[in-house]
């Protein structure tokens, strides 16, 4: 403890006293002595005598040094320390003020740090790795991913210290204790842990040698979350065998709890597996996109030099592969640098909106504190006057009042960090319906503390500067006399201005919140084009290589047959994709040809492969023609169903039904397929999308090797109650297939997520702003009533009615609110325009109804805030009020 104190003391000394200044002073004194000695020698003394005489005439050195030091530091540090101490003592007599102000600031700073913490975790935090500053993210020309061989060649070229590859796309099935679970693993190249130095809490990362792809590595590193939640924190986890895609893997390591993964954006894969043939059957194909690259620069290599070296190494490789654009290095930027944030698009924009909103909330809170401090200043008028009389300069008084504001801001910031920690804990319990494993939790680190420090300083000035200037105005301090009837008016007008500003900001926040709430409501009522209330969806993930297209169809057919005979089931079917989920099917842009007329056209459309009974099961109407039958199999004529939008768009003048289209097949061939039905329009990817064209093909005629399928079940009872039976049927037929069974409306949570998040976060901020503004309004009307107590008393004595008194008070609140609302709406008109990107089509950010409704709300809330002070005004006893005057 004493050592800590010593270090602290030395630190402070080096900052405030300045060792450098001390040294220069000693030099100065030494020089002075030398000059004096020279003079004495010139006068005939010898060197020793001269030095002694010079020292004697100079006198003791230490006091001079001390005095000089004093003149240097006294001006700033001592005053500061004294002011802070004085401010602290002075505030300790005002617990109510401190609590009210700190709480107000704490809520606002808590909101700010939480949003900023999430933002920095998602976009700015360095990955957990050795020397993350040396890491660069690399993209070669032609695509984000390179093949296994391309990775190996680049890594072995020696252009950089090393290059690792990773991929977080494909799922694996983990055989859990009850059922198979589909996970998104991080599939990494053998050198991943050795090169990047990703920390491991227990055990170790797999080494480059043991994880070589050609040795069929069977090792896995698991995340802390996986270890705790899926393996029950098994203490003997190292060496335990886990089964992924039917193959055993030995656990060699467990990652630490707060790991920031290499790709960032909060991605937190549950397991890390070495890339191998078992996980990636196309590993030997030289052109398959398998992994993304992250490189490590050599110790003395700059970014530009690294890029040049890599480009030089890639050129001969491009010739070798015959892939021309492989020679260009499309991207080579340090990880998490500003350049690497190119991918920060809509999510980043949304965070900027949030940061702006929480900033406004903080401004309202500061205004409340400023209001409190202004009222306090009126009480302290005498104290200020005494201090001025005793010789304090205005600057010193301001500095001291700022010190009080600083304490309030510091208490608020401390409270804010506590709020953030609590919110962060709550957030980590919420699992977002996202396709990838994302873990976001704001953490207290140096970036966040620096941000908090900036907020604290800003809060100090925003809340305390104006009151300090006001309180130390010369006219306020002219005498020790009690304040007369005339003053205080200026304070009131200042507080009114502040409230108008608060109202304006609250109005702006409310408009934003209302926009996002309307957006959510609209999104909910968008018709997806099919029935989501009575449908159960099972998402199946097959183990790689377990099924051929033919056996897969047979497997799915037999599942559906068994489900169909269950009680309360009216229909069951299956398809490749499920609409409005992340796996909604494929989007194609192709040149198509009509067989009989020979007309060719370019079409962009969604494709899904569906089984017989699909349209009936999900409740999508067939407008004309028929759906698929069991007979539409691999050997029979190719048939397709298109949706109304497809028919309208690409067959505007003719009947699409019965036409034969030439669709592109494998290797530049085409195949004819007849349009046998026209289905109703539906939503495919997002609820807000503009209507897409779509083609449905029979599942049985599809040769694609996809490992995913969805089984749909239409029930007469709430679909939640059928989940268990469907899980049992699928699990009983193939335990290696992972099945996620959910009601359709739960499955669609992802589609609602953006509008939900937006509505939730901005709605909360809007409410927060409203409450804080309400507090401000209440305070200013209260103050105004107490100042006008004599006036109101006289009016009452002269016979003013209760209604007239009420009108007097309420009118003020309405006038203030109205001014704020007008300002706020004006600002909203300009500020909210960029929000259109986040809203469903057809919802304008400048929606007049939103403006009107929020303005009414704010006005009503303002009147409500004035209600308490108004009642107090009515209770004023005229006799007492006039006598007090």
């Amino acid at each position: 403890m004493t050592r800590v104190l010593d270090v602290l003391r030395l630190r402070l000394r080096s900052i405030f006293r300045g060792g450098k200044a001390d040294r220069s002073l000693r030099d100065e004194i030494e020089l002075h002595l030398q000059e004096q000695i020279d003079e004495y020698i010139a006068a005939g003394m010898n060197a020793r005598e001269a030095r002694a005489a010079a020292l004697r005439s100079f006198g003791p050195v230490a006091p001079i040094e001390e005095q000089c030091r004093d003149t240097r530091r006294i001006a700033f540090v001592e005053h500061l320390a004294r002011d802070l101490g004085y401010a602290f003592r002075s505030l300790s007599h005002q617990p109510a003020l401190v609590i009210a102000a700190s709480l107000s600031i704490a809520v606002a700073i808590g909101a700010n740090t939480t949003i900023f913490g999430l933002f920095s975790q998602l976009f700015l935090a360095e990955p957990s790795a050795h020397r993350p500053d040396q890491l660069v993210q690399i993209r070669m020309g032609g695509g984000s991913h390179v093949s296994h061989r391309q990775w190996r060649d680049l890594n072995e070229s020696g252009a950089l210290a090393g290059i690792a590859g990773f991929s977080i796309e494909a799922n694996v099935n983990w055989r859990g204790p009850d059922q198979s679970v589909s996970l998104v693993p991080m599939v990494v190249t053998a050198n991943f842990f050795d090169l990047l130095g990703v920390p491991v809490a227990r055990g170790r990362g797999f080494s480059t040698v043991e994880a070589r792809a050609d040795r069929n590595p069977a090792v896995v590193v698991i995340s802390d979350r996986f270890w705790q939640q899926r393996l029950g924190s098994d203490p003997n986890v190292l060496g335990r065998t886990l089964v992924f895609n039917g193959e055993p893997y030995a656990v060699v390591g467990v990652l630490p709890r707060m790991l920031r993964s290499i790709p960032g954006f909060g991605l937190a894969p549950e397991v890390y597996l070495p890339v191998s043939r078992a996980l990636a059957p196309d590993i030997d194909r030289s052109d398959s996109g398998l992994v993304q690259l992250v490189g490590r620069l050599k110790d003395d290599q700059g970014v530009a030099a690294g890029r040049a070296a890599l480009a030089a190494a890639a050129r001969p490789l491009a010739d070798e592969y015959g892939v021309k654009n492989f020679a260009t290095v499309a991207e080579f930027v340090p990880v998490r640098s500003v350049d690497a944030l190119g991918s920060l698009t809509i999510v980043g924009g949304f965070f900027l909106v949030l940061l702006a909103a929480v900033g406004l909330v903080l401004a309202i809170a500061c205004a409340n504190v400023a209001g409190l401090l202004v009222s306090r200043a009126t009480v302290r008028r005498r104290e200020m006057a005494v201090r001025v009389a005793l010789g304090a300069s205005r600057r010193r008084l301001i500095q001291q009042l700022l010190a009080e504001g600083f304490w309030l801001a510091v208490f608020g910031a401390a409270g804010g960090l506590v709020i953030m920690a609590v919110l962060g804990r709550a957030l980590s319990l919420v699992s977002l319906p996202l396709p990838l494993p994302i873990e976001i939790r704001p953490r207290i680190n140096t970036t966040l503390l620096a941000y908090t420090a900036v907020l604290t300083i800003a809060t100090t000035f925003l809340s305390a500067l104006a009151p300090a200037l006001q309180a130390t105005r010369r006219s306020q301090l002219t005498g020790l006399k009690q304040h007369g009837p005339g003053d205080g008016g200026r304070l009131l007008s200042m507080r009114r201005m502040v409230v108008i500003g608060q109202m304006a900001i609250a109005q702006l926040l409310l408009v934003t919140a209302a926009l996002f709430l309307t957006n959510l409501a609209r999104a909910r009522h968008l018709d997806p084009g099919f029935d989501i209330e009575h449908t159960l969806v099972a998402q199946l993930d097959f183990v790689e290589g377990r099924y051929t297209p033919v056996t897969r169809t047979a497997f799915l057919d037999s599942i559906v047959e068994r489900i169909r005979v269950l009680p309360n089931v009216t229909a069951a079917s299956y398809a490749y994709g499920a609409p409005l989920t992340v796996r909604s099917g494929m989007t194609n842009g192709l040149d198509l040809k009509v067989a009989d007329t020979g007309r060719e056209f370019h079409a962009s459309f969604e494709v899904n492969f569906v089984a017989p009974g699909y349209f009936e099961t999900i409740g999508m109407p067939l407008r004309r023609g028929r759906g698929f039958r069991a007979g539409d199999g691999p050997g029979s004529e190719r048939v397709i169903v298109v949706n109304e939008e497809f028919a309208r768009r690409y067959f505007p003048d003719e009947d699409a039904l019965g036409r034969i289209l030439h669709l592109p097949g494998a290797a530049n061939t085409t195949y004819p397929a007849q349009i046998i039905g026209i289905a109703g329009n539906g939503r495919h990817r997002t609820l807000g999308e503009t209507q897409r064209a779509a083609i449905y093909e029979p599942y049985a005629q599809w040769r694609g090797e996809r490992r995913v399928a969805h089984v749909f079940v239409r029930t007469t009872i709430p679909p939640e109650r059928m989940v268990r039976e469907v899980v049992d049927i699928i699990g009983g037929m193939d335990a290696s297939t992972a099945a996620t069974v959910q009601p359709m409306h739960d499955m669609l949570a992802f589609a609602f997520l953006p509008s939900r998040l937006g509505a939730g976060l901005l709605g909360t901020l809007g409410a927060l702003g409203l409450v804080l503004a309400l507090v401000g309004m209440f305070a200013v009307v209260s103050y105004s009533v107490s100042r006008r107590t004599p006036e109101i008393g006289i009016r009452m004595a002269l016979g003013a009615s209760r209604i007239a008194i009420m009108r007097l008070v309420i009118r003020e609140a309405i006038a203030l609110a109205f001014a704020g609302i007008v300002l706020g709406l004006g600002a909203a008109w300009f500020v909210t325009s960029p929000l259109a990107d986040f809203l469903v089509a057809g919802l304008s950010p400048n929606d007049p109804r939103t403006f009107g409704v929020t303005a009414m709300l704010l006005l009503m809330v303002s009147v409500a805030a004035a209600w308490g002070p108004m009642r107090r005004a009515l209770r004023i006893d005229p006799a007492m009020a006039v006598r007090a005057e």
Binding site: E28, L31, G59, P63, Q67, C68
Partner: protein, 110 residues
């Protein structure tokens, strides 16, 4: 030898500012110069000189710069800033007023 208390309060600042107004000087040279010009009447002790120099620097009326003394040593030279020049004018004016006033009183008494 004159003690600092012999100097009228505040005149040390005036003397220093006036002395460096001509050209930047280091501490020893300032003391020497004041001594010479005043015909050895005013002797500034180091104990008051350096704190005064540092205070004037702190207030922004002097600024320090590196220089070489007549004897060829490196030293810290003090030069007058623009603010220092204004301060010098103010101090001169108040000195004039004060000395005139004192002169009047003293002559009156004779």
């Amino acid at each position: 030898m004159s003690k600092p208390s012999d100097l009228i309060q505040g005149t040390l600042d005036l003397l220093i500012l006036k002395t460096v107004a001509l050209e930047p000087k280091h501490g020893w040279a300032i003391a020497k110069r004041i001594q010479q010009v005043s015909g050895d009447v005013l002797q500034i002790t180091q104990g008051s000189l350096y704190p005064a120099l540092h205070r004037l620097e702190q207030q922004g009326w002097l600024k320090a710069q590196a220089g070489i003394t007549d004897t060829g040593r490196e030293a810290k030279f003090y030069a007058l800033t623009a603010g220092g020049r204004k301060q010098l004018a103010r101090e001169l004016e108040s000195w004039d007023r004060l000395s005139t006033a004192i002169g009047l009183v003293v002559r009156e008494a004779e």
